[in-house]
Symmetry: C2
């Protein structure tokens, strides 16, 4: 089953690649004026572990970060640097999260930015920093410094895939995509790379996503679009409810497309936000499909909630329930587990208004079980993609969450990882 899902994910990646104009022009180098590179500098044994993305001209940048109160040093440094007017580069390593590393960790993250800046001839505050990997270990700075010297020489307008590979940890698939669309008569490119096997990889499973575009857009509009789109894409995926210390999504827009600057609220803004949404949704779904040990892609739709918060709470409670996840894994038509999750979500519900649907089969309606063919339900649960619908009958708010099942493989991967 695992293989089947991987195949679907691969196909998706291939599709997205065909959508971009050139085979090599996807990910973060699809947009004009961006270069990237990924190399193995020695933090990990024998695998790529350092990525660099560079804009040839100053870009505006926007970001969203983890809400974990334990924030890694690169998160703190990037939060500081993102306040400056221009961004030119993102330096990211895998294999070490540089988190819970105290004062030395903070100095190390700063040093990564300043070394990059020195070699690229830009300001340290124009460099954003990201890390992912094990928590609580100091970065091997000699190795990182040598890596930065090497990676600057490797920058290329074809470098997206290398960069995408270098940020992976336990991911099985390289995650990159790009689209083109026109704004004000100008063709715009927007693409990104991401890492994260759900939120569940052994090293705490940082979710990193870097997006570049040659659109010309005002910084507040870019930040607004990113925040809006994050809510229905990266904040709508969950594997196990874990929240990383290093999560971040960064967008750089360098204006090279020459379109009239996009302002908040305009028709052009709507189009841009829709394009950003498409890229981020695709990358988010790739993460779910690549979830540790995942064999199913599961969509949970909660409707008729009193408010958005309630809808999200119920959707996440179901998505994170071990009993629901194992039921999905075993294709076991034990829908009562979903009903029990709704009742224990902490959201005020009246069970006699609730409807539960699995695939096309209504199983629970107004407090009563609904007669159905158990065999048919099992067939639905055997599919690699499963939809669960919950109507709360209280109001008009909705939420959608994408998640996976839970397999014995997940446990093996996460228990067997030795630091």
């Amino acid at each position: 089953m695992g293989r089947k899902v991987r195949a679907v994910a691969m196909k998706d990646t291939a599709d997205s690649v065909q959508r971009s104009a050139f085979r090599k022009k996807t990910g973060v180098t699809a947009a004009k004026g961006f270069q990237a590179a990924g190399i193995a500098c020695g933090i990990k044994k024998k695998r790529k572990d350092l990525a660099l993305i560079y804009s040839e001209v100053p870009a505006v940048a926007a970001a969203v970060f983890t809400r974990n109160q334990l924030q890694a040093a690169p998160v703190l440094v990037t939060k500081e640097h993102i306040r400056s007017d221009a961004a030119r580069a993102i330096i990211a390593n895998s294999g070490n999260a540089n988190c819970a590393t105290g004062k030395k960790g903070f100095a190390d993250a700063r040093q990564m930015a300043s070394e990059c800046a020195g070699l690229l001839g830009i300001q340290p505050r124009e460099v954003l920093v990201a890390s992912t990997g094990v928590i609580g270990r100091p970065l091997p700075m000699k190795t990182v410094t040598q890596g930065i010297e090497a990676i600057v020489r490797n920058l290329s307008s074809q470098g997206s895939r290398s960069a995408a590979e270098a940020i992976l940890t336990t991911d099985h698939i390289v995650k990159e995509t790009a689209i083109q669309f026109s704004v004000g008569g100008q063709e715009i490119s927007l693409g990104g790379i991401a890492k994260g096997a759900g939120m569940i990889a052994p090293e705490m499973a940082t979710m990193l996503c870097f997006i570049t575009t040659d659109a010309k857009i005002a910084r507040p509009a870019l930040q607004r679009a990113l925040s809006q789109v994050t809510e229905t894409t990266f904040n709508a995926i969950t594997i196990d409810g874990e929240m990383s210390t290093n999560d971040m999504v960064l967008v750089m827009a360098n204006g090279k497309a020459g379109n009239p600057a996009i302002q908040s609220g305009s028709a052009a803004y709507q189009k841009f936000a829709a394009g950003l949404g498409q890229v981020m949704e695709e990358l988010a779904k790739m993460m779910v499909r690549d979830g540790e040990g995942a064999t199913k892609f599961v969509e949970i739709n909660v409707t008729s909630a009193k408010n958005r918060g309630d809808a999200k709470e119920v959707a996440h409670r179901i998505a994170n329930s071990l009993l629901v996840k194992t039921m999905l894994h075993g294709a076991d038509p034990n829908w009562g587990r979903i009903a029990a999750c709704i009742g224990s979500s902490g959201v005020g519900v009246r069970m006699n208004r609730v409807e539960i649907t699995i695939g096309t089969i209504l199983v629970f309606l107004k407090g009563e079980p609904v007669e159905h063919s158990r065999e048919e339900l099992k067939q639905i649960l055997r599919n690699p993609e499963i939809q669960i619908g919950v109507d709360l009958g209280e109001g008009r708010s909705i939420a959608r969450v994408w998640t996976t099942d839970l397999s014995a493989e997940y446990v093996k991967i996460n228990a067997g990882y030795t630091t």
Copy 2:
């Protein structure tokens, strides 16, 4: 590893048995004037599935119930019956939760009480009802009715073990215990039976616990003691954060010991509550040790929290984290996962005040990792019993939670169960 822990649990059970005066006088028939029985009536294939506990004289009763908003029919009926002055019997079935079964389910639970009452010559409202098993299926009432007729004839003052067996679902060990202590010069017996492989068994994992005592105690004092003790015993265990639709703890006190009636707040009350606490803690720990696929018994102590709610939140966040659980399973010294849980618990913490200890090893202090021998830490994590300490450095509140690791076996059990 699984076998090792089972052995420990078995030994505990054996110890507890030796503590009671007679080999057979444990569980719910240790106290004077109580009889019990457990039989296979046919809800399950070939396994005991119906239990009855009976007090020869009217008893006062107290109860705590699940807070899940989807409440099984027996929970609703027992909530109604517990309001009456006297309780005489508890009828409980396994194999079917009688939950999400609508109006028929409610009528079925009532019928179980009235059939018992008719045969025992008592009032229906004196019978408390409990069920555990799969959700959303109607009870086979013909089978249940025949079972009730048979079980009444099987009541015996040696029947605790049969009753304890009949409430099990996927449990591996029979859970019963009893203690004796004196109140006002009178020897009192207090014992109980329980079921629940953590909160995690395939059928949604109801936690049921029935306790009997011959102590004479005022009903408000009994309820107060039960509510207090629940907080630090059954509410302090978690396997996977699931909350059942059928959970209940019932206590019956029939006064046969002839002690002066225990009133709230007296010295006798303190002694009684301590005894109740001892029995409930023992049964709660048996559940954790019997957790599906569990190979470790883990105690998490959170100290110096601003308030009790914060302390509990942090403790449960760590206890329910899949990444911590798999780390414990694999004896992987990846303590950063604990730090990340503290940061993401939703509780306001300052990481530069936090201390994390695993066993006897301090790993994190005031925002900085503490040098330690990774080999020694691995050794500690290989033990079948592990203690994790988290000091938040904010105030004076504490919380303690008992939990297990997460093994591939858990997934296999819960995915492989076919309804």
